[in-house]
């Protein structure tokens, strides 16, 4: 028997064949496009899950899903995969979506609710890193750190002397747009720099000690800087528009570590080019990885490639969290970071 089995599978050693069979007993997780760092995640958890990888197949996505994903109950995705009602219709067996992001604007949550599909996100895993970057970008713009570094590296310190002066942080009124887990970490940090914290949120939060403003416009009128920390959804799309930016004023600074779509990007570029804003620190854009070229000519803008969340430490934390959510789901236990849980 063994001899004929070997002759039927000439390309596989017996060991590999056994490993593959083992793999096939593991709970399956559908992955349409690999989230960043997926290779590490896969290696780490290869004994726990079998990944059904759509991008590795030469089949069209529709064919792949109908051939290979009809019984898969879990989907792992990043913010880069749009989980639309259309997609969900093609994988009716899916009962859980695990996203590697804190943001949820790429998932049709209404459709998930209708279908009773549970959703787990990255919870607070990134909040500290994103808050650190937001504060970093704020300091960078006011104190011209990035442009000064550029000045030195171009050899201009020896040729032209001192670079231009920046602006103090102490006493600056910082308006936090969205007082969630990231917004609250930003507030805590900036208080230590003697900034005055103000905020806007969908609703006033009774336990938050800072002044609340019911609209972003009113917040902007009373702030020297806006730090965008809220989710992107239908209500917040282009919420930071020309009215808000005018209210913020020529000495105003914008920091965005949330989603590009919250700001009317075209308007913001115009405000910056015309000197109607003091500067901006931007980690996110409307059409990543495209960034408006006009910003490249500006010294008072700091540009970052959607990297605010991505430290090695957070990545490790994220891997553990994703695996823990999947394991909980497969063993019928509550999700660790549920957005909605129907299990």
């Amino acid at each position: 028997m063994l001899a004929s089995a070997s002759s039927l599978l000439p390309a596989l050693s017996l060991g590999k064949y056994m490993a593959q069979a083992q793999q096939e007993k593991l709970p399956q997780v559908l992955v349409i496009r690999p989230p960043a760092g997926f290779k590490t995640f896969e290696e780490r958890f290869s004994k726990k899950f079998q990944f059904v990888k759509a991008w590795e197949s030469s089949l069209s996505i529709d064919l792949f899903l109908s051939n290979h994903a009809l019984h898969v109950t879990a989907l792992l995705c990043s913010a880069g995969t749009r989980v639309t009602s259309d997609l969900l219709r093609k994988v009716p067996s899916i009962r859980l979506i695990v996203t590697t992001s804190a943001g949820l604007n790429h998932i049709d949550l209404t459709e998930c609710r209708c279908r009773g599909i549970s959703v787990a996100d990255a919870g607070d895993v990134f909040s500290e890193d994103v808050a650190d970057t937001a504060v970093g970008l704020f300091i960078d713009v006011l104190r011209k750190i990035i442009s000064s570094d550029r000045y030195v590296r171009r050899g201009l310190w020896t040729v032209n002397g001192e670079y231009s002066l920046g602006s103090k942080l102490q006493g600056k009124r910082v308006g936090i747009v969205g007082y969630g887990s990231i917004g609250s970490e930003v507030a805590k940090r900036l208080e230590a720099f003697s900034c005055i914290i103000l905020y806007n949120s969908r609703k006033k939060k009774p336990y938050v000690p800072y002044p609340f403003f019911p609209t972003v416009s009113e917040l902007a009128t009373n702030s020297d800087a806006l730090i965008i920390c809220c989710a992107l959804n239908d209500q917040t799309h282009h919420m930071v528009n020309d009215e808000v930016m005018s209210a913020l004023g020529r000495e105003g600074v914008i920091v965005n570590v949330a989603r590009g779509g919250i700001i009317d990007e075209k308007e913001m570029v115009r405000f910056l080019r015309e000197g109607e804003l003091k500067g901006a620190g931007l980690d996110v854009f409307e059409n990543e990885p495209s960034v408006p070229k006009e910003l490249f000519q500006l010294d008072n803008v700091v540009l970052s490639p959607h990297a605010a969340a991505f430290s090695e430490e957070s990545f490790l934390g994220l891997c553990e969290l994703m695996a823990a959510n999947l394991e909980a789901f497969f063993s019928g236990k509550p999700l660790l970071t549920p957005v909605m849980d129907f299990i």
Binding site: A36, V152, Y163, L169, F310
Partner: protein, 313 residues
């Protein structure tokens, strides 16, 4: 006071120059190529010197100005003033403490985040178009990292307070242990460097602290360690630092000061794990004006026989 001769050691602030011009007989030292002749001619007129981090009053200058009564510094650091000589001759010295503490501390934290999270490299990555081809790499988290501060004075304490808001455990080295602080003390810089991930230089530059960051300290900080210098360039053995960064023996550096400003070692220009600033610690419009006003205030107080605002004891 218009007859009182005042020598400004180097260009430092056009606002300060204008204001001093209105009040004194101001001599701009850098406009006189023949310095010895200039000093000989004006030795009996000059009664005050204004210096900064770049140039002040060394023994030679003090000896050439027999009528010198006061050295007013547009800086808090006094490494360019021969304090011993001043004390000998009864020359008063003032500086600009407190007004710049917040700005320098803010910049130190800005340097830490920019270095650990590679913000300069990120900005270059986007501007070069590289983002279109792939994501940036993972960087190093700041929150929760251990911060070691050399010198727990006004600036060192302000840095500690800010780092605490990022949940960083704080430790320090000082000439003597401070009684009224909750931070952990290490009796040597090597001990401190061995026990922290981010080492910040925040002490004055003196004979004792010159090259306080040497090969041994750099090795103790190690390939995951980051050095932040907002003190003075000579605090660091610069060739050793450059070699450690190029070799990867040190994880990164955020530097606002250098041994021979404005010269910066060119080997650092191609590194992603360093941030290089042109001595901007106190470099805000607001603070530089406050510093200038303090210099003017100290000089006026002296020449009107009133108590100095910020004398160096």
């Amino acid at each position: 006071m218009e007859a009182i001769g005042l020598l400004m050691a180097c260009p430092m602030s056009s606002y300060l120059e204008e204001e001093l011009d209105k009040r004194f007989n101001l001599f701009r030292f850098w406009n006189f190529p023949q310095k010895q002749e200039f000093l000989k001619e004006n030795r009996n007129i000059i009664r005050a010197v204004v210096g900064n981090a770049g140039a002040g009053a060394d023994a030679e200058l003090i000896d050439s100005l027999p009528k010198l009564e006061i050295v007013a510094n547009y800086s808090v650091g006094l490494d360019k003033v021969d304090l011993v000589k001043c004390k000998e001759k009864g020359i008063k010295v003032t500086n600009t403490p407190d007004v710049l503490t917040d700005d320098v501390a803010d910049l130190a934290i800005g340097l830490i985040i920019a270095t650990l999270r590679r913000i300069c490299a990120c900005d270059r990555y986007v501007r070069s178009g590289a983002w279109k081809k792939g994501d940036f790499k993972l960087t190093t988290k700041f929150t929760g990292k251990s911060v070691g501060i050399i010198g727990l004075g006004r600036i060192g304490s302000a840095i500690a307070k800010r780092a605490e808001a990022f949940n960083c455990p704080i430790s320090y080295y000082s000439r003597t242990e401070k009684r009224d602080t909750k931070y952990k003390y290490y009796p040597t810089v090597v001990d401190l460097a061995s026990n922290c991930q981010i080492l910040v230089v925040a002490c004055p530059l003196t004979e004792e602290t010159r090259h306080i960051i040497n090969r041994q300290v750099i090795d103790s900080l190690g390939p995951k360690g980051v050095l932040i210098n907002i003190g003075r360039g000579p605090h660091v053995d610069e060739p050793e630092l450059v070699s450690a960064l190029v070799d990867g023996r040190l994880g990164g550096a955020g530097l606002d000061v250098f041994e021979n400003e404005p010269e910066v070692p060119k080997e650092l220009f191609s590194l992603d794990n360093v941030v290089l600033l042109p001595h901007v610690g106190s470099g805000t419009v607001e603070t530089r004006k406050a510093m200038a006003d303090l210099v003017i205030g100290n000089l006026e107080a002296h020449f009107m026989n009133k108590p100095l605002l910020t004398p160096v004891v």
